[in-house]
Symmetry: C2
Subunit: 121 residues, 2 copies
Amino acid sequence: MSSSVINFKDKLSKFSEHWSPRVVAEMNDYQFKLAKLKGEFVWHDHEDTDETFLVLSGHLIIQLRDGEIRLSEGEMYVVPKGVEHRPVAIEECHVLLIEPRNVINTGDAGGELQAENDVWV
Amino acid sequence: MSSSVINFKDKLSKFSEHWSPRVVAEMNDYQFKLAKLKGEFVWHDHEDTDETFLVLSGHLIIQLRDGEIRLSEGEMYVVPKGVEHRPVAIEECHVLLIEPRNVINTGDAGGELQAENDVWV
């Protein structure tokens, strides 16, 4: 049983790559992932699942086809399944992602920003 | 579609009751709940699911039968399903709970601290 206290700052100090989520915990068949975001991601959606963004520091814009969501520290947003979105961070932003195990960061869009899945920190 | 930005401080300003989780968002069949904790809860477990505690402010102790977990702001812990636990907060503590919809706060233990379920804020 690997359950233990997860300290976000400690875990965030262990990697620096952008757009490269690191799993820190599992709850049933869901995963909690920390990520450092900077710049513009790719437009994508997740056909089978909602996806939660919780901002730990900095500011995150989630562009939608019909508007945009602006998140700061202490705020979260659930992107509904099937809704196209593009995360954008002008300065580096740290987020906690919550979604089912095996979700790929780029959805079906692929491309050079597709990260290896299930990498723990 | 009710998805919107959730600001934790704003939502926490809207209620004061202890041990009375308020739903702020849903992700698939899971719920995000804010709660204000102070004092000693009841020993209980959740037979069918893990349960996540994420501390937003203050300090939380999660007593286990074989030890205890101490959490501060910026830390989280996943209580594995079926594991008996008792949350204790010496001073008021604010947490984000993440668990499947329909989980009762006291598990099968019941008692006067059992909160009404699915109350949104």
